[in-house]
Amino acid sequence: MTQTLALLLDAYRELNAKKMFWITLILSALVMLGIAAAGIHETGFSVLWFKFDLWDMGDMGAESMDEIRAAFYKEIFRYVGVTIWLTWAAIILAIVSTASMFPDLMSSGSIDTLLSKPISRLRLFLTKYLLGLGFVALQVLVFCIAGFFVIGFRAGDWEPRIFLAVPIVLMFFSYLYAISTLVGVYTRSTLAAIVATVIVWFGLFAINAADGEILEAQAENQVMLDRYRLGLEYAQTLDAEPPEEGGRSEREQFLQMWGGDIDGEIDALERSVTTWENWRRRMMWVKTPLPKTGETRSLLRRALVPTEDLELPEYDPADGPDQAGFMGIQTSEQATPIMMMRIQRDQRPAWWIVVTSLLFEFVVVGLAAWKFCRRDF
């Protein structure tokens, strides 16, 4: 215990000397102040005492407004606080400030004295590794405590689930920290550790983006397929007889609105859905052994806004297939594929995300530990 406390104190002094710990904490405080300064009301947003009237919700009643306010703060905490700040900007600062931990430890003349003490190499390695994680956990915990009080005081919603951000952000960081540690142990270079970590992070981001594109394309085609099938069913209910006064029957007019050949469209969409489904399966093979940064981050959203709470907009086949604009969500109908994509993504079990990602981290950290324990200094 004496040794662990000494290493803890040393790690704190090291981070303290680099100022990065305090810089990150101050920036976190500023982000939280920004969140606290924002507000929502019946006619728009407010920042401090400045009001921006953007809509008119009418008289919502105090209860509904409180619900909206709570949802607003939770979403802003999740998106600005966690997604943008904690799992993006603050992670970069954390990577930079922790990347030197192992290269510095292992520099010639520095490691010799430590290894000559009665502490096993594995324990020394793991203690250092966990201390790096511990300081990030501390940062996130402080941020979450502040977030808890901001949401509580500003929206009257004392939401304990926001503390899930601590393990989630820590897990997110730990995947990258494992890479940084492995490269740091092998190369003893801080710069190499940072560069390799950023490259891997970028690679994971690219894979995640490709996965998103595949899911979106699949969802888009699935939505259209469902609509065409509904359209076909609806068409069967319409009168196929042409009106006595001449012209097209109701069914013909309806089918015309759908492009004429619904059966052909359904065949094409079924093939397309199958193709994208195959790509989705391939992507799952690629993703399974890798850390899932995007999905890990989304665990907080899944906890705060569960998929069950999502309400898919109602669809009436009489309105036609509405193929326009899947990319921007201007209408509730256009939002459907995006929501479907999210539902599909959220169907991936949390245990799969956590276990496979931690398995990757375990292997990477294991390799780093093995190298640290075996190498001569």
Partner: protein, 331 residues
Amino acid sequence: MSANGLVIDLKGVEKRYGRKVHALQGVDIQVHPGEVFGLLGPNGAGKSTLVKCMLTVVRPTAATGEVLGAPLGDKPTLSRVGYLPEHARFPRHLTGRQVVEFFGAMAKMPKAECKSKAQELIDLVGAHDYADRKVGGYSKGMQQRIGIAQALVNDPDLVVLDEPTDGVDPVGRRDIREVLMAIKERGKTVFVNSHLLSELELICDRVAIMVGGKVVQQGTIDDLTIDEKHYLVTLDWNRETAAPGKLAEALGVALKQEAERGGVPVLAGDLGGVRCELHGPKLKVMVTDPPAIQPVIDKLRGAGIVLKSVEPKRPSLEDLFMQAAGEGGDH
């Protein structure tokens, strides 16, 4: 202590780096309790590697033996060992005092004891003026003093110092030497690794000379130099006025030129049954006892040669080292 009463008893220590580098080639080292033991050798001889093998910094390819009575590599035993590595670098964000306390804690010392011991050692190594400043601003000499303090903080039975006077000015070297003598007086065993031979000569009880990954000589300096002890007779002899052959003629001996050093011929031969070498005006008489030199002095004076001085001599550690290094290099 090992069963045979040794603090360090290493046998057959081997270290290979890949297939090409054979850094240690079966090293045997024995260090007795309470002695200052010096490990000498040229750069690349394997001194630091051997020390690192003892302290688990480097994993030996093969080795048997004990350190403080425990098998080589036994981690708990290291709480009784203090170590200052070569080119020691301490965390720049710590003060000298924090460095000493940190390594005390790493040696499992209780906090209060660690603090008081740190103060005592800071005073001992003369670092009190800068002990509360960050190590990042220290000179090499300051770092070495703090390094020695951290090596002693756990009150070790064995202190291993790798080039402790490296980069230290002459005053600092003298101070460090005094610290080492103080440690020795406390009954601790000191293992010093250095190539500063004059330093070691002043403090070491026993030495080992390593060349090319092997120990080529080991023992007390007296033991190692016994064969090379001699008397040096300085003659009032002027090369300008008399040729070296004239001395042989005067003494009635045949001196033959055997070598040349610094442009001066070395003449050697027997004088009264004793081997002598003439290096210019200096006559090296290969005897160790005062009675044995007397017949030679009588002969010289009988030949009318004036003697300026007669001194008993033994080779310096440097001579020994150079000789061993030469022989080792020939292997």
